[in-house]
Amino acid sequence: MTWKDIISLGFRNLTSRRSRTLLTIGGVAVGVTAVIFLVSIGYGIQRLAIRETLQSKSLSFFDVKVGTGDIGELDSKIVNKITSFNNVKGIHLQLETPAKLTLPSSSTKADVIALFNSTTYLQQTDLTLKKGRLFADDKGELLISDAVLTLLSLPAEKVLNSKITFQPLMRGGLLAGKPKTDEITFTVVGIIDDRETPYLSAPIQPVVDAYGAFAFSAAKIEVENVSEIAQTRQQIADLGGLQTEYVGDIISQLNGIFSVVRTVLAGFGLIATFVAALGMFNTLSVSLMERTREIGVMKTLGTKRRDVWKLFLVEGMLISILGGIGGIALGLGVGYGLNGIVNLIAKATGNATTSFYYAPPLFLLLIIGLIILLGALVGLIPARRATKISPLEALRYE
């Protein structure tokens, strides 16, 4: 028989026992739905967690921090050394000092922390703006945190786009030399969403130009090649006293945790699939018993054992493929449907929408492959038994 004839006969055999076939396919579909639904929720939440961790951060950056104690220092000599390392594409520095801040329009004052850095540096932090935008590095612009507004007792609208004067206070030799000017005046272009810490954030270059600087408090290193990041971090650690932090480490940890979570979730789904596989096995075995004489006569008509074997394998695979398609459709439908409903409610109640359900295409492909394999495996035993049916006994068996 040709494969086409075998598949068509297998299909006819299944449709001629419609309700039993549908029940079995339904069982497989439920199992597959469970796997798809649970694992995709795992993937969805993992993706959410990673997005939350990364935000706008790039995996080509890592942080260098000055260690506790006096050993480590991020002075210009060290900065030059780091810049000369092979994999280092750029170094983005931050200088942290206390500062005094004045709002000339109302002459209110506040003591704040000043973080001098750059647009690139800020983009690699968790900073979120409540209003306005990030500063440009060379336009005399700065950002203040929400907490500063509280200190000044002013609403955001009054401060945004107005001038602010600040004076960095020397501390621990971070700033070198005598200041050329006492005060710097910049325009507020954004409010940082932080009600706890009063701080301002301004471009570092004008401060270095004004005061001179020989040591910095932190740096973000951009690398050429992410795969060699570990070596670069080691080089920096070898300089002594400097610590590195990499968002990739957290992501790896998250991935590790979630792969365990997914395995557990998949385990629940697999139990359902296993039960479905038993159902499939039962259906195929019963169908084999019912068709003993039929298979006997097929053999007396000259059907090859191989073709009988293929027929049962095909019937198993048809059930599993149809169940798999149904399960994938149902799993995706239920998952994305539920996500949609949750988002509708979120929108209605003024909350942010999220997607906590995610079925990666590769995962779906894997499931399709496994499901076909499952059908073949389950079909294997009845198929083998079918080839062993002695036509003689089948014909005598009434």
Partner: protein
């Protein structure tokens, strides 16, 4: 001129284990069957007729002795070769026809051709033509179990004939039929034997079927006790195709069964539709396209 035997049974015995003992079902059987013979195996129930037939059909080896088909020891063949043999050269009809339940009558009749890897449309077309000459085309789309036993048996004969085998085995083919349906089936077998020259090996209990046989083999208790040759084997009518011959069979049978009050549903159908179809005869005798792949 000695005719080569198509089947030669050489001193076969068959034993089955029953618990720790063995029972001998067939004892030292010897028989030669030449092409065109209509062999009738007769004997009391349980004497081993079916077992003998199944052994010749290659379904199970004898405990001793050999069975030759066209001088080839069929149990020296590979299993696949025996499958080929059943697929191309021999066929069997059972007392109760066994069908592939999911398929229609037409598809069941066509099924053996699918085993030859003939395209399904061609196979079904040939099945339709064969059903047509027996006036069974109206039943082609039905489920086999919706047919009367007589109709089923005729369809089953068409299924065994569709691959144009040389030998047809029939194990009590009329055992479940009423007298009229039995006559129809016996007449059909006779036509297949006499006009197509097919060798028939048939088991029956029915003494009234004896005149159909050209050779009567009597068995008792697993032994052949008598072989009676009543006439020479038939030789095929080479000028005619299957459909011509079956068509003329249907004509004859229609008039033969027009006797009043003897109408079973099976024979009734035959007579009412006969007149409409002789023109089809030529078309069906077109040679079959064999696309057997190696």
């Amino acid at each position: 001129m000695a005719v080569e035997a198509i089947f030669k049974v050489d001193k076969i015995s068959k034993r089955y284990p029953i618990g720790k003992r063995e029972i001998e079902v067939l004892h030292n059987l010897e028989l030669e069957i030449t092409p065109g013979e209509f062999v009738i195996l007769i004997g009391p129930s349980g004497c081993g007729k079916s077992t003998f037939m199944y052994l010749m059909f290659g379904l199970e080896p004898p405990s001793e002795g050999k069975i030759y088909f066209n001088n080839q020891d069929i149990f020296a063949m590979h299993e696949d070769q025996r499958t080929e043999l059943r697929s191309h050269h021999i066929a069997m009809v059972h007392q109760q026809p066994i069908w592939i339940k999911a398929l229609s009558v037409r598809e069941n009749v066509a099924f053996p051709l699918l085993l030859h890897r003939i395209p399904k449309s061609d196979a079904v077309a040939k099945a339709d033509r064969m059903l047509h000459v027996l006036n069974l085309e109206k039943l082609a789309n039905q489920h086999p179990h919706e047919l009367s036993v007589g109709e089923q048996q005729r369809c089953s004969l068409m299924r065994s004939l569709i691959t144009e085998p040389e030998v047809i085995f029939a194990d009590e083919p009329t055992g479940n039929l009423d007298t009229d349906s039995s006559i129809v089936v016996m007449e059909l077998l006779k036509t297949i034997n006499e006009q197509l020259g097919k060798t028939i090996i048939m088991v029956t209990h029915n003494m009234s079927h004896m005149p159909y046989g050209s050779k009567i083999v009597s068995m008792i208790d697993g032994k052949i006790v008598n072989v009676e040759v009543k006439r020479p084997p038939a030789s095929p009518d080479n000028n005619k195709g299957i459909s011509d011959i079956l068509g003329s069979w249907a004509d004859r049978n229609a008039t033969a069964t027009t006797k009043p009050a003897s109408d079973s549903s099976a024979t009734g159908k035959v007579q009412t539709q006969v007149k409409s179809k002789p023109s089809l005869a030529q078309e069906i005798s077109k040679p079959q396209t064999k696309v057997t792949k190696p």
